[in-house]
Every structure is written in C-alpha cells, then in structure tokens.
Amino acid sequence: MSNNEFYIGWMPKAPGGFARHTKKVIIALLILTITVGVLLAISQKKFGTGQFEFGQLTNITGVYFKEPVPAIKVMSGKDLLGRSAYITIPLIGYGKSGADGILLDLEKLQHVDLNKKEITLKGTLLYNDGKLLMQIDAADNPLVSVNKTAGENMLPLQKELGEQTIQGEIVDPKCFFGVMKPGEGKPHKDCAIRCISGGIPPVLKVTNKEGDCNYYLLVGAHGEKMNEAVKEFVATPVAVKAKVVAYDDWVILYVTDQKGISPIAGWQLVKPGSQAISCIARCIK
C-alpha cells in the first residue's frame, strides 16, 4: 500500500492497497464463518429421539382414569407370554397446559363422569423412550365417544414398592417426550416451569449408570397435584423421597412432603441404586 493511499467510503472504488487487504480479510472471514458454523453444529449434544405428531390427529380407545394423573389405558393385544398387553397414555392439554381443564369441561358438557369409562379420544400423539402421551385440544372436539364402564380387569395393577429416595431431574413430559429438543436441562428450564405451572404433571427423569432412563410421575403424598411445589426444582438435579407405587406401566412417586424434594450436586445424579425401580416397573421398551 502506498503511503499516500487514502480510503473514503463514498468514493466509487477503494484504493488498490485497501482493496487487496480487504480481499484477504474476506477470505479469512469466509474460513472463520464456515469453521465456526461446522464446529458449533457438530459439537451439539445429540438431539433426543422424541416425536410429536404435529398436525396429525389419532383416535385412541381405552379406559380413562382421572387419577393419579389423567390418562387413558389402552389394550394392545397379548404379550409374548400370552398376558394382556396394555399401555397407559397420560393426557396433556394444548400449549403449556394440563388436560384436567379440558376433561372437566367435556364432562360438564356431556353430563357424564368419564372416570373409569371406556372412551375414544382424538388427539396428537407424542412419544419417546418407550413412553406415549397424547395431547388433547378443545378445538379438536377430542371426545369422540363414551362407552360402558370398564370391567374390573381394566383397573390399574398397583404394586407398592416402599419408600425410596430417587435422584434425577424434574422435567415436563410434554416437551421432554416429543415437543421440544432439548426438552430438559438449563436451556429448557423456563419452558418446563411454565408447562408444569400450566398443569402438565411433573416427571422425574432418572438416568442409571448405563445411561438408560426411567421416568416417574410426581404427585403429593395423597395423590394431590404438586406442580407449584416442584417449580423451584425443575431442570436441576434433585433427590426425591417418596412412597413408590407402580401403576401398570408407570411408576408414581407420592412425595411425602415438600421437604421430600431437595437439590443435589449434578455428579450425584447417576447412582447404581437408581436402577432398582426401573427393573420392577413394567415398561414397553
């Protein structure tokens, strides 16, 4: 560059020395842009395999249970041992809300108590890691039909597993099992809190030493909702002291009281003991 060269932006062309230097800078920026883009893209944590069938409505027929969380139990033939196979599908609402309000409105509208009745629901499925959930939206007229009261054989098989302390992360199941990626951890914390505040039942995600996960629904000591109580513990490592009850293919944690949930250090999350319950609970995996 000549010492006399002077760059003025409003001139039609930059002086030769400036133009040559700018070309080198552009090449450097080009390399930087591609390098940063590729490195950041490949270094992302693997996305979950959850699916949300957005825009696709599915009819499901099964027995509706209001408690411990709104869910529909669906028979799905026989398993390899000839036993009746079934799957329990927790219900959730549209957006960041639970299904309770919608179901209550439907009951009022139809003048019928849906609890323990065989019903057909229309909604959007979301699923991941062996768990299936259904979103119902009032705008979709989700209640297709109401049939007879279910027989005794359809009532949930309950098994008490005693009081245990389990370590994991509280997630909102709607985002975690399909709607968002990631549906857990710090980046998703606010959303999970909003979802749980809106009535979506909180779930404790427990990861064992082998990296396998199991999921436990959280309710209060007497089966009451404890969405507000768990808000401050969402998306952070916690230890939950609870009475553990297996309800068919889900495990419910009846948290003894609010003090039953306490924060722990992240490194404590994976413990060999965490696998014990997952072996007892039936899972469709």
Partner: protein, 355 residues
Amino acid sequence: MGASYLAVGWNRQKKIYDWFIFAFCALYLTTFIAVTALYNPDYTFETALIRSTATLAILLLHVILSIGPLTRINKKFLPLLYNRRHLGVTMFSVALIHGSFSMLQFHALGNVNPFVSLFTSNTQYNSVSQFPFQALGFFALVIFFLMAITSHDFWLHTLSPKIWKALHMFVYLAYFLVIMHVMLGVVQYETNPVLFVMVLAGAATLVTLHLVAGTKEVRKDNRIFKLKKEGFVYVCESQDVPDNCAKIFCIDKERIALFRFENKLYAIHNVCKHQGGPLGEGQIIDGCITCPWHGYQYLPQNGQSPPPFKEKVSTYIVTVEGSQVWLNPQPLPEGTERSGAAIIIPDKQIIENVQ
C-alpha cells in the same frame, strides 16, 4: 456525507458491503443447519433456527467489536468500518429472530403473558448456576434494539454526538450480557467444550485487540511537551508534517490535528463531528480535511464543513518560528477562521526541489 437525510445513502461500496453481509449470513445459517441435520437426524428445525441465529449473532457481534480496534491498529481495515452500522443492524435482526423464536418456543401458550413468563418462570436470581439466563439475553436485545433504531445520522444529530456515542457504548454492556446469557444457559447443558472454548477465545481476542489499540493511543497521548512559552507549546519541526496530511498531538487532554496544506499549517480539533473519527488520520482531498471513517469533510482554515453542510470543529492558533512549530492548545470557538502558518522552507530545500 449528505445534506439531507435518506433512509440509506446508498453508494457502490455500501452495496458491495451489504451483499457480503447477506452472503456471509446465508452461508453461516445454511452451514449450521445443514451440518446439524446431517449429524442429528432427529433435529427439529425450530431448535436449529434458534441456535443458528444465536451463534450467528454472536459471531457478528465479535466482528463488529473487532473492527474498531483493528482499524486503530491498521488503517487497512477502514473499508470494514465504513458500513459497520449495517453490520450492526443485521446483527440485531438476526438476534431478534433468535429472541422471537425463543419467546415463542419457551414462553408462548402458557398461563401467563410470555413477557411475564420470561421474568417469573425461573426466579432463582440469587443463584449463579440456576440464574434465569434468558432475561440477560432479553436486556442485551433491548440495547441492540436501541442501537439499531438510532443507527442513523438523523439520530446522531438529534441526540447530539456525545449522547449518541454514550448510547452506543452500551454495546459493551450488551456484549457482557450476551456472554453471560450463553455461559449461564446453553454452556451448562452442552457436554462438548467447543462452544465454551469459542466464547472464551472470542472474549480474549476482543480484550487483546482493545488493549493493543488502547495502549497505542495512550502512548501517543502521553507525550510530554516540555517547551512552552506564552501559552504556546512546541510540538514538532515543520518538515515533520507530511503534505496534505496531519500529525496528532494530545495537549492538556485535548487532541489536536495539525495539517499541512499548500505549505501552510492549520490546527483543528481531532474529533470528527459525525462519529468521533480521528480527523488527523485523514487527508486533505479537494482542499478539505477528510475524515478516514466516513469521509466527512472540513475546511482547514476554519474547521467548517463546506456548504451546504453545517458541521464545525474548533480551530487553534499555530505559529512557525524558523522550523519550529508552536501550537496554542486553547481552542477557538468552532468554525473560527484562522489563516494558516506559513512554513519557512530553507533555500537549500527549494533548490533541491527545483532540481
């Protein structure tokens, strides 16, 4: 420079600049999303969009903040500085896409207003590890918004250069908020250290560039002028000032540009009225002192922009005694006419020039 305000005073170099901004943004977004799709078949487009726009905005912010010190260190970077405003507005637009989609994704369709949700979902403001990092990003975006909407000469004149400059210095606060937004947010989720290392490297690069450029400035400013008489300060020998160029002196914390034009010396305040560019690093083009940053011009004899422009800077009294140049650092009112101090050229030099 224009006598009236236009939305954008387009010229060839601005158009080329903007095309490159667009091409680089498109290249980055395409690269990030394509590689994400390739390595993560289970990816969702919303997440890829949120992450690609976030990282692009941070990359652009680093480039924007590097241009200033790079230009102070090496004038060849001036073409990057010329249209930096468009780069800034682009960065804000990309950050706005990131912020809007994040608000939609994480806070919409809940039981409270999304903006209320932003500040009340996670309330662990007293915790470092659980700090509500999204609020930090929101405040950074507000600063970028204020900067973007005032990135125009109309606002520069309306707010006054001092206030405008002060507002735009908030970019450093915004940068800090962005870094904390990343560190207290996604860095706590990712297990691969690439993002963490890149953010640290970016911050270290910016700090280093600013320190190097600042040290260079301070060294210039700290020169002690020993010879003083009757309010005048001896600054240099007349032949030290190159023709049509200037030397800058910092006397009593006042930066003064001493220009040589047609064998006369003129002193004006070094700070351009437009965006505070260093006039002393400019040149005299068509008889006007021309700012190296955006080409604003001033007449050397009175520090006024040629009509119809109205910018004015202070002038100073210069005298030449033999070969010694003496400068009175007391500024005259802006736009005060001063005849230049004639340089006494030794006979020997005239003979050499004739030969």
